[in-house]
């Protein structure tokens, strides 16, 4: 309970500081939304030219796009502390966290909160809702629950990626930018049905980096495409939990990384 109220307090502070440059904040909100609007507009342009993609219609792809977009934007909003963690290591600020009577994972998590991602969340949500209205999905309580679990799991997945990036700073000081491939790249490739990728690519992003588990497999179920996809139904049902598992593993990695931490000196 104490942790939660402290977290909310931190969030409030963060929001206040981001409001300092108000004009820029508003512009950024629009920028966030406009970038993603253009992203989706481009997908729509392609469908205007080609009609379908591996048996998926525009709005089915829109559903995929909306899901991954929400997960990523929420993860960026909440997991920002890990995303910019290298700053703390470079400046030796992590030392301060080590002496505080709170877990380091919690502190880094509560350290930042990026309110401006709201623009992107709104856009992704809008695409998801429009897609839903165009698609005629037969919703049931179970399906709504499944969608929510998938969204939370997807968010955990992306936060997990940020945690990996942050943990690597314990060894390299500077963050390994390779992680961008999985975060930004993950959103990009997650916006298309996985069946278009080569098998080695698909397997890598299912079993090692479980991107498909939090996005593609859940939408197969929600859009009733499981039978035609050839993916085992049980696998589809269990897939979303991979996101939680992934975050758990990265937390262990973090804990191990903290033990290796050597200060850059202060």
């Amino acid at each position: 309970m104490h942790h939660l109220s402290l977290y909310l307090h931190f969030v409030k502070l963060r929001i206040r500081s981001q409001m300092a440059y108000r004009l820029s904040f508003v512009l950024d909100l629009f920028a966030q939304a406009s970038i993603s609007v253009i992203d989706f507009f481009m997908i729509a342009l392609l469908f205007n030219r080609f009609k379908e993609l591996a048996g998926w219609s525009l709005w089915e792809v829109g559903f995929l796009y909306g899901m991954i977009g929400i997960c990523f934007a929420v993860a960026e909003m909440m997991g920002r502390g890990f995303d910019v963690f290298q700053r703390n290591v470079v400046r030796g600020e992590f030392d301060t966290m080590l002496v505080r009577p709170l877990g380091t994972f919690y502190q880094v998590f509560a350290h930042e909160f990026l309110l401006r991602r709201l623009g992107r969340i709104a856009q992704a949500l809008a695409v998801l809702l429009i897609a839903n209205s165009q698609l005629d999905i037969s919703w049931s309580l179970g399906k709504v629950g499944f969608l929510l679990v998938s969204l939370v799991s997807g968010t955990c997945f992306f936060i997990g990626l940020f945690v990996i990036g942050a943990t690597s700073c314990f060894w390299t000081v500077q963050s390994i930018e390779i992680i961008n491939i999985f975060t930004n790249g993950g959103v990009f490739m997650g916006s298309y049905p996985f069946s278009i990728y080569r098998w080695w690519f698909r397997h890598f992003f299912t079993f090692i980096i479980p991107l498909a588990c939090v996005n593609y497999f859940p939408s197969l179920f929600l859009l009733e495409k499981v039978a035609s996809s050839g993916v085992p139904p049980l696998g589809v049902q269990l897939a979303p939990y991979a996101g939680f598992l992934f975050l758990g593993v990265t937390m262990l990695f973090w804990r191990w990384g903290v033990l290796r931490y050597q200060s850059t000196g202060h």
């Binding site: 440059y21 004009l23 820029s24 904040f25 508003v26 512009l27 950024d28 909100l29 629009f30 920028a31 966030q32 406009s34 970038i35 253009i38 992203d39 507009f41 481009m42 342009l45 392609l46 205007n48 030219r49 080609f50 009609k51 379908e52 993609l53 591996a54 500077q174 390994i176 930018e177 390779i178 961008n180 491939i181 790249g185 990009f188 490739m189 298309y192 278009i196 990728y197 080569r198 690519f201």
Partner: protein, 271 residues
């Protein structure tokens, strides 16, 4: 004549410095290269799947599309899109612009040189390897006509100049908003869209392609790449290049006005 030579010499030194500064970050460059390839690969997967289901003929065949996206990744870092920008850009926010202003050089020209050095670096260290490796793995079209190669070289150079001029213009707005992430984000999304970076303009619906033709941003990607692919030929090449030149001059002028206005209201941040 001698002063002209000296002036040129000074800015050339800035270009070299900018180049050398970036040579420090070898690992970052390797990471960037990997990222380039990842996005290239996903693009190729996506378009291959789209083309597999196409019905009618298209103005670009799959080979040309692949070549187009290879070129996109080769020249990506030279363009005014998202990505690490020159350090001059943060100078207004953190106040170090004061130091730069004490230098007896033209600020815009200084900034332009910095951007050019940056472009040379990325062309050599990022673009060239991307291109060479792509030739091995993908069916990349290579122009055979010497005139095409020459026109492309001119056109991509102009695109780089335009990119530098645009960057300076966009970041001049920092004088008014201090934090440019919002404004630059907004401009970059429009620039990226209308340059043809995301989807080649040749595949756009007519009405939208028409709007793009009246905007400057096709000069960054669409014009040079269309020349490369042999989609613009003969006299049209010179018209396209002329268009690029006009826009370069336009953005240099606009940036100049903005900088002048900006400096007159500049408050140095920090100490």
């Amino acid at each position: 004549m001698r002063t002209l030579y000296l002036t040129f010499h000074v800015y050339l030194a800035f270009v070299t410095k900018s180049f050398q500064k970036r040579m420090q970050y070898r690992v970052a460059n390797l990471a960037g290269l990997t990222t380039n390839f990842f996005f290239l690969l996903v693009h190729i997967f996506v378009y291959t799947a789209f083309y597999a289901a196409r019905t009618g003929p298209l103005s670009l065949n799959l080979n040309e599309i692949i070549t187009y996206f290879v070129l996109c990744q080769v020249f990506f870092m030279l363009m005014p899109f998202w990505g690490a920008r020159s350090e001059v850009t943060s100078a207004i926010k953190d106040g170090s612009v004061a130091l730069q202003l004490t230098k007896p050089v033209d600020f815009q020209a200084y900034w332009f040189s910095d951007e050019c050095g940056r472009a040379c670096y990325y062309l050599l260290m990022r673009g060239l390897p991307t291109f060479l490796i792509s030739i091995i793995f993908f069916a990349v079209a290579i122009p055979t006509q010497p005139i095409t190669v020459m026109a492309f070289a001119v056109s991509i150079t102009l695109a780089t100049f335009m990119s530098a001029a645009i960057t300076i213009t966009v970041f001049s707005f920092a004088f008014w908003t201090l934090d440019t992430t919002g404004f630059s984000g907004l401009s970059y999304s429009i620039i990226t869209l209308f340059s043809g970076m995301l989807v080649p303009i040749a595949l756009w619906p007519e009405w939208l392609a028409h709007i793009a033709a009246w905007l400057p941003f096709g000069g960054l990607i669409d014009i040079p790449f269309s020349i490369y692919l042999g989609k613009i030929t003969g006299m049209d090449i010179w018209i396209a290049i002329g268009k690029q030149m006009i826009w370069v001059v336009f953005f240099l002028g606009l940036g100049r006005i903005l900088l002048k206005r900006g400096f007159s209201r500049l408050v140095i941040q920090g100490g």
